[in-house]
Every structure is written in C-alpha cells, then in structure tokens.
Symmetry: C2
Subunit: 274 residues, 2 copies
Amino acid sequence: MSSSHFLANTINTYYEEHGNGKSYPLILIHPIGGNVLIWHHEISLLLRSGFRVIAYEIRGHYRTNMGKAGAYTMQDLVTDLRHLLKHLNIKRSSIIGHSIGGIIASMYAAQHPGEVDAIVMINSSPKKFEEKDLEKHFKTRKVAITKGIKALAEHKLRSFDEARDLFKDKKHSDFFRKVFTKTSVNGFVAATIALYTIPENVVDKLQTSNCKVFAIVGSDDDVFMRLLKETKEEMPRLKLSILDGSDHWVIIEKPDEMYDILMGFLGKMRPRGR
Amino acid sequence: MSSSHFLANTINTYYEEHGNGKSYPLILIHPIGGNVLIWHHEISLLLRSGFRVIAYEIRGHYRTNMGKAGAYTMQDLVTDLRHLLKHLNIKRSSIIGHSIGGIIASMYAAQHPGEVDAIVMINSSPKKFEEKDLEKHFKTRKVAITKGIKALAEHKLRSFDEARDLFKDKKHSDFFRKVFTKTSVNGFVAATIALYTIPENVVDKLQTSNCKVFAIVGSDDDVFMRLLKETKEEMPRLKLSILDGSDHWVIIEKPDEMYDILMGFLGKMRPRGR
C-alpha cells in the first residue's frame, strides 16, 4: 500500500492505493461522514481477490481539505475524481460508492461512458432526492455547527433511522465514532448541501452508456429503497441486491455479506496480474 | 442613521437602521454580490417618504460573517432574517428584496403570514430554478475561487446577460465594482449553491397568506421574466411591473424608476411618525 496527496485546484485529495498496480482497479468512495477507514475490512477482502484498490477521501473529510471555498456542488466532487483518475493514469475502472460516494460514481460514469465498466451504488442512487429526504439534515447541520462533530456522531447513533443495527453492537458503534469524528464540520455541512445539486439527467445518461449498474441497499434504508426502486423502473438492467434488515451504514455492519455481493457483481472482471 | 452588529448563532449580521424608529419599517435585502451600499440612493428616496428603513447584509457579504460553516441553505438565510427582526422587535413590516433577497423575502412571508404586509421581489421570484438557470455559476464560482472576487466582477461586467446596460455607463460599472468586490469568495460560492435549496411550496404558502405580493423585473432578465410569468399564472394577484430594456442589476441602473414603482406598490402604507 502507498498513500499520498495530490493537488488539483487547491483541493489536496488524500488517496490510498492497495494491491498490484497492474491489476484491475476498483475505486472506493465513502459516504458523508466517512473516509478511507470505513473500507478497512472490505479492502483486505478485495485484495485477496487480486484487485487493485484505490480509496480516496472527498472534500472536507479527514485528510482531504476543503479548498478555497466552504461550499461545493456534486459536480465539483465529480471533477475531483476526474483529476484523481487522470493523475493515476487510470483509463478503465469500476467504481464502488457508498451513499454520496455512489452518487459521485453514477455521475462520473454518466459523464465518462467509455471509462467505467461498472458502478456499484451502496445505499445510494443516481436520482435527485425529494425535498423531504434532505430535511433531517437541517437538524444534523445545526448539531454539527453548534455542538461539534462528536456531538453529531452521538446524535446519529441515537437516531433510529440510520443506526438501528449499529446500536446493537458496541464494536460497531465505536468504529462508527472513530470514523465519523474525523470529518470537519465544514465538510459535513457542505456535503449535505451538495445533495441538493444532483443533476436530473444521470439515469438518462447511464441508460445510453455500456456501464454495468449495480446497487446494494439495506431494506430498512427507506429513502434509498424508494429511489432505487424508481431507478429500477426506469432502468430495468440495474441489478439490485437488497440486504434484509440492514440499514444505511451497512458497510460497517456487514462487510462480509457486502463482499459476497460485490464479488457476485464484479467477480467476472478477472483481475490481471494474478 | 445608526449601524451595529447583532450576534445570532455565530452569525454576526450587519444592519443599518435609517429614519424614524416609529415609522413603518421597510426591510431591504440585497442580491448575491451586493450589500447595503447598493441601496444607497434608494434609501435616501425612501427616507424622504417617511419610512423607517432597515438594510442588512447576508452571510459572507461585506460586513456579515459566514459563521462556523462555509455553506448554507436558503432556510438559514431566512432564519438569520428572523433573528434580526426579533432583535429589532419588528412585528409587522414590508420586505423589499433583490434577486436572492427577494427569495428570502418570499420564504419569510410564506413562513410568517401575519407579520409581513407586502413583499416586493426585484428581479427575483418565489419559485425554484431550473437546473439550466444555475449553470452559469459553475463558471462564476470557478473564476471567484481561482482568480478572486475582483476578477469575478470584471467577468460579470463582460458577460452580456447580466450587464448590457451597466456596460454603457462607466459610473454604473464603477459603482458595481465598488459594491461587488466587498463580497467574500466564500460568501459568493455559498450563496450561489444555496439557490439549489429553495423549497417547492413557497407560492402555495404565499397564496394562503394575506401578504401583498409585488414584483419588478427588467425585460432583459430572461430567467426571472420566465419565473415571474409562471408565478403570475399560479398566483394572479401578483402585481408585476416590467421595466423595459432593463437587466438584472436594475437597482444600480435605475434607482429613480425603481422608487416610483415602489411607491406605486407601497405608498398606501402611510408611514407613521410623519
């Protein structure tokens, strides 16, 4: 594994590269409040299968700075990924993204149809949110701004909608705290507001690309269950795997089940260099 | 005139109060890239008519800070206005807002129906933008972030869509430069992204209020001409005044014509204390 910083337009994107540089590259993109740590267990599993794995951090999350402005759009995050893949000279890859990470993956694949073989959206979708879906963040932003990121982590652990399962297992909630509290208040606030800026045409553009489109969703994650069902209606070729009884932070709760599903989706992309 | 700062939740809102404190209050809210300076001439005209005039600056614009986060929603700006009016103990007023200022006015009136007698939206509307309406700001944000606010002022003066008329008169373009360059890059970026967060139901809520709704638009301001025509269809009681041959920065170009229209709208609200 090597890790380094890469400078583009004042955004100093932190990324880690794991595995054989000649193997097939998988790009991992974390959710809001996440960072590379969240993929720890998943990366070790993917490495055993011989993939090259690149995980990076989005603006304002742990080791990646915010740049000169404190607000950004989804398109800015897509542009940051563009710069990273150019920097690494990666011309074909598959992209696995959790929540906002899956939105970035879908927008990137829509805009660069020849370069992405497959995307896997984990508790995520390529569709715009409805207004009510984003309303809970009026509260989360207020907690972050007035009480700080640690208080927000505790708030999230107490809010039933996101953390039913995390709650059950102290090991999981402690890991959630460790990851989440690395996020800057600025980064959290900017990312939740960026969710308003998802373009309307992502599904249409994905339709006309050859990119394979996969999704994994916890059955208890109501918002993404709804958005992915709508996506499936518009794009029947979407392969959707529902994890029964799971919730938004499925990557922390069930990394092994996640790996099995990922291999079902991506296993045929035989890693070179094995 | 008195001026002061008022602290609310780390937002230190700058405002100016002009005229007799017992007169009927008009609240003035500037556009993105504007500040209290932009109302200079208008304020002196309104004072002669005996109104109490309160003008303030929104987050990240000139003398009002950004607070702890670098991004905000439209609702945050409405909340800031709420705090200001509570601080000033103003229970009834009329609100005049230019562009983003008019959006704040319409949201505030929709949320506090008993407190606002009238709103005047100047080159503004209570409706969500279409995606394409906001696309020009991908460029403006890039100029602001990479080249700074002075370069952005020059970019705006060169961009035909906003500044046909400013262009003709050096006095106007110099005044535009003086006002606009007081804006922080952070404030400009955050405000343009906040435009994505306008709620869907503002017109519906205004419909059921007793608030009078007025609008003034330059005939060459294509986006707000379209949005206000749509608003007028949904809400026939909207009184719309079109300034022929005018553009987005009509308050700089035509403060006297603006005053005449404002008095046509608001003149019947006889200022007390005269």
